[in-house]
């Protein structure tokens, strides 16, 4: 559903398209095709990050003064549409879309100078340390703590579900710095850790349902960090985390654009897949009905993203709508991946870790488009768990309705 685009925007679109075509090499495109989660293969996505940085395009939503593009919303969307169209991987959100904006908003000049250039350039990758083994969606109950010792903090405890920590050189995390009294959210600080190679830090990858490590457990034993690693006020990390969360939901990538790409892929595959009675699945009205249902969910999600983008953050409506975006987008992608495996059928059951590895040169068994579908289905079961489970989001919505 596209309406007329102004000549100026069309020129911009062409410029983006040309740049991608000239700069995204086969390895990067292969990584795009073999992306099976919200997080593309690490080496290739960082390589692409650095290429975009060369053009000044690595932070499309940052203010210009910090090295961002300064693009308006239509340009941001066009950029992402073209990225999806070309099939390049989307940049990892942890550095650019999460900790970066938080540093811009809460950081001291020194912190900004120290951290932003590496994020922008794709030299650093930041892991996110929120969840703990006994605090899943319940962040406020975290136990990892930092005690002051002279001009340092000493961190002890652990974090889990830390995406790509095994690839990261830096990490932002929530730690308990205050006493036990008051609300459990109080006394939490937001730390920036500069060096994950400290011997007190032990990073252990967790193998997921899809057979590959994406998340990690991270253990801290007497890890010393300087006092100025604290972003925002000590004991006020909860505010930083909340800011970051809302920023992430509203200002992040459009889910709708990404999901539409998945639907296209499924439709293509259905056009090549037999229905068991001599016809093709794409000609089956039952498939068509499911496809349109999901396409409509994606269109609706896009409308909600638009409404949310123009909404004042922190208003009474923005809270529940942010939760609603989480619920509807994650349920949409889960249902899309269900349609995908239903279309692919039994051929999607083959476990093909080698063929899925970028640069392995191993040919997939069966249709190449079907290669990623089962890993996506399995990986996306987490979509309704991580980042505040869908149950938590519905609690939040109900709470705001009943207020």
């Amino acid at each position: 559903m596209s309406t007329q685009e102004s000549a100026e925007l069309s020129r911009f679109r062409q410029q983006v398209r040309d740049f991608i075509e000239q700069n995204a090499d086969e390895e990067i495109l292969e990584a795009g095709r073999k992306t099976t989660s919200f997080f593309p293969p690490f080496d290739q996505v960082m390589k692409w990050h650095r290429i975009l940085h060369g053009q000044g395009w690595s932070a499309i939503r940052w203010p210009e003064e910090y090295g961002g593009t300064g693009w308006d919303v239509p340009r941001q969307l066009i950029f992402e549409e073209e990225c999806r169209r070309a099939g390049v991987p989307l940049l990892l959100p942890q550095s650019i879309a999460m900790v970066g904006p938080a540093i811009i908003h809460y950081g001291t000049e020194a912190q900004k100078k120290k951290h932003l250039p590496g994020i922008l350039a794709g030299e650093d990758f930041w892991a996110q340390g929120y969840s703990e083994p006994n605090a899943g969606s319940d962040l406020a109950s975290l136990k990892c703590r930092a005690d002051r010792d002279g001009d340092h903090y000493v961190i002890n405890g652990s974090k889990t579900w830390t995406t790509y920590a095994h690839h990261a050189n830096r990490m932002f995390l929530l730690v308990r710095t205050g006493g036990g009294a008051g609300k459990p959210q109080q006394g939490i600080s937001f730390f920036l850790i500069e060096d994950l190679s400290d011997p007190g830090i032990d990073i252990r990858p967790i193998i997921g349902l899809d057979g590959v490590p994406e998340q990690c457990d991270v253990f801290f034993t007497d890890v010393r960090v300087p006092l100025d690693c604290c972003l925002g006020e000590e004991n006020d990390g909860w505010s930083v985390a909340k800011y970051l969360l809302e920023h992430e939901r509203g200002g992040g990538t459009s889910f709708a654009t990404t999901f539409r790409h998945e639907l296209d892929l499924i439709r293509r595959l259905a056009g090549r897949t037999g229905d068991g009675f001599g016809g093709m699945l794409a000609d089956d009205p039952v498939f068509q009905d499911r496809y349109i249902r999901l396409a409509l969910e994606v269109d609706t999600l896009e409308a909600t993203e638009e409404v949310f983008a123009s909404m004042e953050k922190g208003s009474p409506q923005s809270g529940p709508m942010s939760s609603m975006i989480k619920v509807t987008s994650m349920e949409a992608i889960q249902r899309i991946t269900e349609l995908a495996i239903d279309v692919a059928g039994s051929p999607s059951l083959a476990l093909q870790l080698a063929a899925l590895t970028v640069g392995s040169g191993v040919e997939p068994i069966g249709d190449e488009d079907a290669l990623t579908l089962m890993p996506k289905y399995l990986n996306n079961r987490a979509a309704s768990i991580f980042g505040g489970s869908n149950e938590i989001q519905r609690n939040i919505i109900a709470k705001s309705l009943l207020r």
Partner: protein, 378 residues
């Protein structure tokens, strides 16, 4: 974006709000249904006086110079009040008379409509046509000076108080073909026109109309021969757009009322609102309602830039998304109210019935999904 300025729109919406809150309470509505089949002449007079009937018509024809998206605020508030007056029917039909056909008798009729003295409705649906406005089997056979119309229209809304009807008929082409459809304007009491009226379960008035070889002249034909498809699609798209806004008004009301009810009603000594399962049910009611509202907002903002075929797609998307949303919200509002939600006495059941009616009118979600697939596959 809309044609009227924000101030005018706000003023209009305020005036509708005052009307619904002041003169269209649930009890008023009951009385109106009993005494006037839900179509009180006094109310209609108010509609004209307040300018609501003039919104989407050119200023040179006595209108406010707005467009169809400017009526969405009215429809939303009408949804809250479960207004049964023929606003949607008359507006979308009258739009077909304006501006291209504004001359002679048509101009006179339109003037009468804007002043609230006359009404016109559009007869489009036929048995088995579902939501397809191009599925026209009603025959228009040329005879000497004009045509003879034979066939049946069903689910014609609000013909009770209308003097004229616009009817789609086929003079050429196969069933569902775009070419060969005509649109005729005729008096409802013309010879050979047989109207079987009935109340509907949502309080609105419906009718089946049979045309037994009805003679119409070429002057009653609104377009060139066989070329009415565009106008017909317009009426269908605009009706769907207005219906969606009414649905949003109803659904927002049901969410609000259900939340309020569960806070006071106790079971096992605890307010219903304390039960997490019901909390999540209400969260989902909110999600469905807000999803439709957001899609409607986006659709309205794109409406005027879109060509007719594009509007038809936008309208189908709205109706296809409306179906499951309206069903879920309506059903859950009843469920969470429990037995009392099942009674005629409480408003909840009436909102539910109106939503159900909206769902099924002009093609249900399933049908519109089929239409959408045909569009993207084409």
């Amino acid at each position: 974006m809309s044609t009227l300025n924000q101030e005018t729109r706000s003023m209009l919406e305020d005036s509708v709000n005052r009307f619904v809150q002041g003169e269209y309470t649930f009890d008023d509505r009951k009385h109106n249904l009993k005494e006037h089949h839900g179509q009180s002449p006094d109310h209609w007079h108010t509609f004209a006086e307040m300018g609501w009937l003039s919104i989407p018509f050119p200023e040179e024809q006595g209108g406010l110079g707005g467009d169809i998206t400017d009526t969405l605020g009215v429809m939303k508030v009408f949804g809250r009040g479960m207004v049964t007056e023929p606003y949607l029917s008359v507006i979308t039909a009258a739009r077909l008379l304006s501006p291209a056909n504004y001359k002679g008798e048509v101009a006179e009729l339109l003037d009468g409509i804007l002043s609230g003295e006359r009404q016109v409705v559009f007869a489009s649906e036929e048995p088995g046509s579902r939501g397809n406005p191009l599925a026209v089997a009603l025959k228009a056979e040329p005879d000497g000076t004009g045509y003879r119309l034979s066939g049946e229209k069903i689910a014609v809304m609000h013909s009770l108080t209308a003097g004229h009807v616009l009817v789609s008929a086929r003079s050429a082409g196969g069933y569902t073909d775009e070419q060969g459809i005509d649109l005729f304007l005729l008096a409802l009491d013309a010879p050979g026109v047989e109207v079987t009226g009935y109340p509907m379960m949502d309080g609105h008035q419906g009718a089946n109309i049979t045309f037994n070889g009805v003679s119409v002249s070429k002057t009653q034909q609104l377009t060139g021969a066989g070329g009415a498809a565009a106008l017909i699609l317009q009426a269908s798209s605009e009706s769907l757009l207005m219906l969606a806004s009414e649905a949003v008004g109803i659904m927002e009301t049901l969410v609000r009322k259900t939340v309020a009810y569960t806070r006071t009603r106790k079971q096992f000594g605890v307010a219903l609102a304390e039960f997490q399962v019901l909390q999540h049910r209400m969260a989902d009611m909110y999600i469905e309602t807000t999803s439709l509202a957001n899609l409607l907002a986006q659709t309205a903002s794109r409406w005027l830039e879109a060509e007719a075929p594009q509007q038809a797609i936008l309208a189908s998307k709205l109706k296809a998304r409306l179906g499951p949303a309206a069903r879920y919200v309506g059903q859950q509002a009843v469920q969470l109210h429990g037995g009392i939600g099942m009674t005629d006495e409480l408003d909840i059941g009436h909102y539910f019935k109106r939503l159900t009616s909206i769902e099924l009118q002009l093609g249900n979600a399933e049908w519109h999904r089929k239409r959408l697939w045909r569009e993207i596959a084409a």
